[in-house]
């Protein structure tokens, strides 16, 4: 872990602890949704940004994690905290199965198979309404009860997001992460260097899926309700554009993107409600066309200059 990353993590924690005091109470829910998206997109960033597998079915995994946790709580009375683990575990397990299936396909077909999986999951959730509650959704117990339940749920989300963030940083700098990058950049070269590419593909995919399952379980228990919309195409759109706007394959990208998107959405909802996805899709198209690195590219271009100016200032 580098110095910068520790500074950023600490800053996020401090800001996150201050925010509920400083902001009106409606922002607690908004920021919790930002945490949810951050965990979810960190998962997708590991799958696509690190490992190079374009998974189009990522939105299915929070649905799986959330429904697993909610159903377990409903039927055997599992506590929501263990539900997080169970959701992440089941999503990771399914991630391993899908990851093994998609070893046979490349590029665009990979996209199709994962998408097919997501659609089938969605169809099953909607059709089996005796178990899942269908389009009406399924009630899930919240983490805490009492007057401050939402605030504690918010801190829970902050903790989970920091956890996911630290994991992605550790992965980024470790040998495991290097294996994933090698698979992404040149699979033949990686193979010839003795990297077990099949294993690392499945690992990267299942790892990201398990984070998504965690996010889904958090979503279900934070709001107390989960419905099939969580696995819809719009959600996949948000995942994709958050990572692209933030910066694909970078550590900070997903967090930056999800805070930007969620907060902007809340800010403009008063003036132009319903236009948010339109505006974000335009930003995403422009970003892909002209600025493929997203926000992180801007920061990387600007920061050496800022650094130089700072050094000049200090020396004089």
């Amino acid at each position: 872990m580098k110095k910068n990353e520790i500074i950023v993590a600490v800053t996020i924690i401090v800001l996150g602890l201050i925010a509920p005091k400083a902001l009106p109470s409606v922002w607690i829910t908004v920021l919790s949704m930002a945490f949810y998206y951050a965990i979810l997109t960190i998962g997708w960033n590991i799958i696509f940004g690190y490992t190079g597998l374009f998974s189009y079915g990522h939105a299915a995994f929070p649905a799986i994690g959330g429904y697993t946790s909610a159903l377990l709580a409903q039927h055997i009375g599992l506590s929501p905290f263990l539900g997080l683990v169970a959701g992440a575990f089941i999503a990771g397990l399914l991630g391993i199965v899908i990851g093994l299936l998609i070893l046979r396909v490349h590029g665009f077909y990979l996209c199709l198979v994962t998408w097919a999986f997501a659609e089938v999951v969605n169809v099953i959730i909607t059709a089996e309404h005796q178990i899942t509650g269908g389009t009406g959704g399924l009630l899930a117990p919240t983490f805490f009860s009492g007057p401050n339940a939402e605030l504690f749920g918010y801190f829970m989300g902050l903790g989970l997001m920091i956890f996911a963030f630290l994991i992605s940083i550790l992965l980024y700098h470790s040998r495991w992460g290097l294996n994933l990058f090698a698979v992404r950049d040149d699979i033949d070269a990686a193979e010839s260097m003795g990297i077990k590419t099949r294993f690392w593909k499945v690992f990267g995919f299942a790892f990201g899926c398990s984070l998504a399952g965690l996010a889904g379980a958090y979503f279900a228990h934070f709001l107390g309700l989960i419905d099939p919309g969580i696995g819809g195409l719009d959600q996949m759109g948000y995942v994709c554009l958050i990572v692209i706007i933030g910066g694909l394959g970078t550590v900070y990208g997903p967090i930056l993107g999800s805070f930007f998107v969620v907060i902007t959405k809340e800010l403009i909802s008063g003036y132009a409600s319903g236009y948010s996805l339109l505006i974000f899709s335009v930003i995403m198209i422009l970003a892909v066309r002209f600025l493929s690195g997203g926000f992180m590219e801007i920061i990387q271009v600007i920061s050496p200059r800022l650094n130089n100016r700072y050094l000049k200032f200090v020396n004089k």
Binding site: A116, L233, L241, L278, M284, I285, V288
Partner: protein, 287 residues
């Protein structure tokens, strides 16, 4: 009943084939996948609706209008957003195209909600009378959709087989480098092929608009179907697309009736998954 289901399956299957053929063409010439294909279908449907309600066109004018509009739109999209694929050196053009066209999908869908409104529209029937085929009563719209789709697919096949431009497209499909050396202007052929592919999608949308009503989100289902057609039929094969479209249409209609209509869309997905995993080259593709 069985006969009626099969005839209905064939008509809808021909429309699926029309969608799939456009995608296969785009994949051949540009080596990319268009996620926004279904949105051109939606736009085509709306164009036909406005052409028939506001301008009072009959179907033989409104369907070509929709095709022209979607052709221009597709060509503009290619020129503005997708052309870096062949003008710049790009490491992963496929990933670029996937993300870009996914952005376009979101954009067109949201734009349609704002411009056309979220409620459903239904254009007037193209052909009001019913048609009897082998003693089965089928609505004229469905017959028209099937027949025109078949004509367009076969027309495209003849175009690609016989004309110089089609020959250029086939050459580009086989080898980009070789086609370039022999004087095929990749940039020009790309936007024309993209326009044609989008126009075919627009035609499909315009043809089925009176059968299924119009709404901004109708693009999702045909997009999925066209991928299924392409995966089952094999990439870039027109005959494969035609057979796969018919197969998909018939299986789906029968499955929806005999198994459960809730699992109608899952049937196609399972078929596609089966083909991708066990016969990745599709029905007619070469390895």
């Amino acid at each position: 009943m069985l006969l009626e289901l099969i005839i209905r399956g064939i008509t809808i299957g021909l429309v699926y084939a029309l969608m799939g053929v456009g995608l296969a063409l785009l994949n051949g010439v540009m080596r990319i996948i268009n996620f926004a294909h279904g949105e051109f279908y939606m736009i085509g449907g709306y164009m036909a609706y406005y052409a028939s309600t506001m301008l009072g066109f009959q179907f033989y004018f409104s369907v070509p209008t929709a095709m022209i509009v979607t052709f221009i739109l597709g060509a503009v999209v290619e020129k503005l957003l997708l052309s870096p694929i062949h003008t710049q050196e790009m490491e992963k053009p496929m990933d670029y195209a996937l993300i870009m066209t996914f952005g376009l999908l979101l954009f067109f869908r949201q734009l349609a909600i704002k411009v056309f409104g979220p409620y459903r529209h239904k254009p007037a029937d193209y052909i009001t009378s019913d048609v009897y085929i082998l003693g089965v009563k089928i609505s004229g719209n469905e017959v028209l959709a099937g027949v025109v789709s078949a004509i367009l697919v076969i027309g495209l096949a003849i175009f690609i087989k016989k004309t110089w431009r089609g020959r250029g497209w086939r050459a580009t499909t086989q080898s980009r480098q070789g086609a370039k050396i022999n004087g095929v202007d990749i940039g020009k052929e790309s936007w024309i092929a993209c326009g044609v592919a989008c126009a075919l999608a627009g035609a499909a949308g315009a043809l089925v608009a009176p059968i299924f009503t119009l709404s901004p989100t109708i693009g999702g289902s045909p997009l999925v179907k066209s991928y299924e057609v392409m995966a089952i039929g094999g990439l870039g094969s027109i005959a494969g697309s035609l057979v796969a479209g018919l197969m998909l249409g018939v299986t789906e209609t029968l499955g929806a009736f005999y198994i459960s209509s809730a699992y109608k869309d899952a049937i196609g997905f399972l078929m596609m998954g089966f083909f991708l995993l066990f016969r990745p080259q599709g029905l007619f593709g070469q390895k």
